[in-house]
Symmetry: C2
Subunit: 518 residues, 2 copies
């Protein structure tokens, strides 16, 4: 029965709540006022205010990576989406479900070329697997259901729902159908047979795994079985989420630098792709290969990203009769670090103090390698990487991850340069009282760019170029920045101090920022 | 003669410097390393590092509004452009020339779908009047010249030049031609005659003026002549730049709220458009008109945005024989303000202390009206408005405006909410030692949204909705935020304090931030 007293925005919000949406990360404007009112009346959805749209999109990504459920973002016309775009790009690369709701002018106002008018459909296109416009209140509920369906269709992805203001405010809304996220499809027996045959015939086979298998305990065990059976197990360099730590099998990561990746795979004659695609270098460099497959190596797909890799690995293990598992990681027994602070010491402290099931949101760029390897033997935890290379996601992603798992501890690792893309995340942490610990690697440099400058062979680095890669002059003061956003903070220069502050920050019920002077 | 020892990026940079480009606002990444090296060797272009791309695009906009010359921005692939997009939108609405250089993957790397790969051409489309891809080093110089030509083609606009990394690093670059910005075309005598006839026949004519005429002394005098001759002179609500203050004619602004705009024009039977288009409401509201032309009023175009409105006004004045001028604004004699601080008192202090030729970058949103009217009788100054409605431009635009006119004083007016979109601008002010005075209107609210919530009729404001429009809990501490970025600051609550701090901040050679608690 049509409830004509429901506005378009009320039908939209009710439909998404019926589908299971629980969180909205918002930076609203005038065109979204009725949507805000509809959310006000919907107790099933928790609305979270962000000072900048890039915080909202990264938070929705973090939420999805931990919960598997899409959050909605609320963005103000084309420019609002623009501000969110970089982290939607990262979410697209993470295959995170996400429903970006973009408020637009009223339908009859769109053609008048008002100051905020822009071609929203074109702006969102590159980072939306689906775009829907709710042209009338009547269809708002149905479009909302379709947005949920599209976002959760394997492999998951960000989608965009454009909501004109008059659709939002007009009566005549009707709830759309309840949508249940579809399971990924199963791999064909033909693909499986081909892979089994190729592995048996290969001298040095590799399996490269991506997607949800990386945080499935059964799949990790099956990777350990494959490893024991002589198949080298590798994973994507920057996975959306990886379950790791003591007691779990540790697959090898595809190396970041092309020449190292290639030489580490010398002699490999078969690369099986499971839930991922042919690996390529992050950037091209003069005289360096772009495709990370050694000469003479054949690639073969076990499962596409839209297929069920967890089930495919089980079938592969069964077909190969691989029962025994390779060794899992043993718990590291780390002494308290001493002396001047550096990334290795920070990793040492983290290994000592991270509670079980910690979520690490890694945006530490050039320090990421040291952090990743240095925490290998820490208690079981999840590692969320920067999937799309658009730095600036760490603090904001932690907001969503923490809200998806309030009982777990979330740690954001961020370079100083990357933190400054969306430092406003700190305010939302304070407002929502999220006990996130943010660690800033304060080297006062775009350090990775100094490395890249050498690698790209751009020649001698003059004063101007040097200054364009440096964050010094003046140095940022992250303790003051945290205070300005309402977050407690400390700046530390020794390993002893860091170890002590980290322990107490992890025990706190409030957000904490540690500026690690390295 | 071809200098084959020049790389594509060197040819590009040399060509733009030859055309007259002097400033580059950059947030570079790996794909732009060779461009950074080329800039390092080009003494005619000053490179300015920004911590966030939205600072770079707003700075380029501010630079263009004051100098008339396009600056270049340096952005890192699709996500980098995304971060800059909101302020490029504002620049498009300001008709500011701007050359956005987006570094892309090497041509042979684009199809591999690396993490940072995205469909750049689609992302930039809505906010670029021209898009060029420098596919080879050989054509990089020519594409650069074309980008300059396109950006400075009346009415000016932002353009996008996509530079693949291998074009940037490969030898074989050739400088493109020197391009001289074209003058806008002249209005036809037919259009002029029609307007003259219509004005003579009208009972209550209005002329609505936009564009470069608003900061041309001769055009302002001609507007005063038209006013004296009985043509009511109005200007766009949010002009890119307006020259105003004591001794200048003060045209009337088209009002922001539609119903007020319409009722203020009751009985008007003719609206002449000069360098602008038919006015429309900023947002649509239920039961409120969208087009700001009263019933029965005819609209007629004197000059399009791409035409020479300054010259057209001169011809119109000549044709009407309008010699005498309406009165200009007399200098305000303001006493020192006393008592609790409010926007009117802030305007009073500004009127007292602003030196001649101050540049005001206005992003003060709901406080903008009080500031604009309260400074009408201040010394001559330029007012740069938020042209595209994407809040968050003020501090960053001031960077570019100040660099375009080092001998003038620049003041950024910003809401607390709007400042938080790109607060990172403060660091670039500190690094470049720009004596900008930033005034933050700290009402701890998205105050304009509270007004809009009422106006859109979204109904009673519940606790969640209220919290989504509030910047309280916790309050932002702008003095700490400024300190964190290396900028001196003070928080003031009384008019006396504000007046004193403003005077000393304006006398300083370094950036200053004043948190005005209103």
């Amino acid at each position: 029965m049509v409830n004509n007293k429901k506005t378009g925005s009320q039908a939209l919000v009710a439909t998404l709540a019926n589908c299971g949406v629980t969180h909205c990360f918002a930076n609203p404007g005038t065109s979204e006022m009725h949507l805000i009112q509809a959310l006000d009346k919907e107790p099933r959805i928790h609305s979270v205010l962000c000072l900048f749209e890039g915080v909202a999109s990264a938070a929705a990504d973090g939420f999805a990576r931990i919960s598997g459920v899409p959050a909605i973002t609320l963005l103000h016309l084309g420019p609002g989406y623009g501000n969110a775009l970089a982290n939607i790009h990262n979410a697209r690369r993470a295959y995170s479900p996400m429903i970006n709701i973009v408020g637009d002018h009223a339908t009859y106002h769109r053609d008048l070329d008002a100051p905020l008018t822009s071609d929203i459909e074109t702006i969102v296109k590159a980072n939306s697997s689906w775009i829907g416009v709710a042209e009338t209140a009547l269809e708002a509920g149905e479009v909302a259901a379709k947005s949920f369906e599209a976002a959760t269709n394997a492999p998951n992805s960000p989608v965009t729902l454009i909501l004109p203001a008059d659709t939002a405010w007009t009566d005549g809304g009707v709830d759309g159908p309840n949508v249940i996220a579809k399971s990924p499809s199963l791999v064909t027996s033909q693909a499986l047979d081909e892979v089994v045959g190729a592995i048996k015939a290969a001298q040095k086979p590799i399996i490269l795994v991506g997607g949800a298998a990386l945080y499935d305990e059964g799949a990790l065990n099956n990777m350990a079985r494959l490893a024991k059976a002589g198949v080298r197990v590798m994973i994507d360099t920057f996975p959306a989420r990886q379950a790791r730590g003591a007691g779990r099998f540790a697959p090898e990561k595809m190396q970041y630098f092309a020449e190292m990746a290639i030489s580490s795979m010398a002699g490999v004659d078969l690369m099986i792709l499971a839930g991922t695609s042919i690996p390529c270098a992050f950037f091209a460099y003069p005289n360096t290969p772009s495709i990370l497959v050694p000469d003479g190596c054949v690639t073969l797909t076990l499962s596409e990203r839209c297929e069920d890799t967890i089930e495919a690995l089980q079938k592969l293990v069964d077909a190969l009769g691989a029962v025994e598992m390779a060794a899992v990681v043993t718990a590291a027994q780390m002494p308290a670090p001493t002396g001047p602070l550096n990334p290795a010491k920070i990793a040492q402290s983290l290994s000592r103090h991270m509670p079980e099931n910690t979520i690490i949101c890694d945006d530490s760029v050039s320090n990421g390698f040291a952090m990743y390897f240095g925490t290998m033997g820490a208690k079981k935890h999840d590692w969320l990487a920067l999937t799309g290379g658009a730095i600036g996601i760490g603090l904001s992603m932690a907001i969503g991850a923490q809200m998806a798992a309030p009982q777990r501890k979330t740690i954001a690792l961020s370079g100083d340069g990357s933190a400054m893309y969306a430092i406003q995340a700190l305010w939302t942490m304070a407002r929502e009282k999220l006990p996130i610990v943010t660690i800033i690697f304060a080297n006062h440099d775009y350090k990775v760019l100094n490395i890249e400058m050498m690698r790209t062979g751009a020649g001698d680095v003059g004063a101007t170029a040097k200054s364009m890669l440096s964050l010094a002059n003046p140095n940022l003061d992250f303790v003051a920045l945290a205070k300005g956003h309402g977050v407690q903070a400390a700046s530390v220069t020794t390993s002893e101090e860091f170890d002590e502050i980290l322990e107490s920050a992890l025990a706190s019920n409030e957000p904490w920022l540690i500026e690690a002077m390295i």
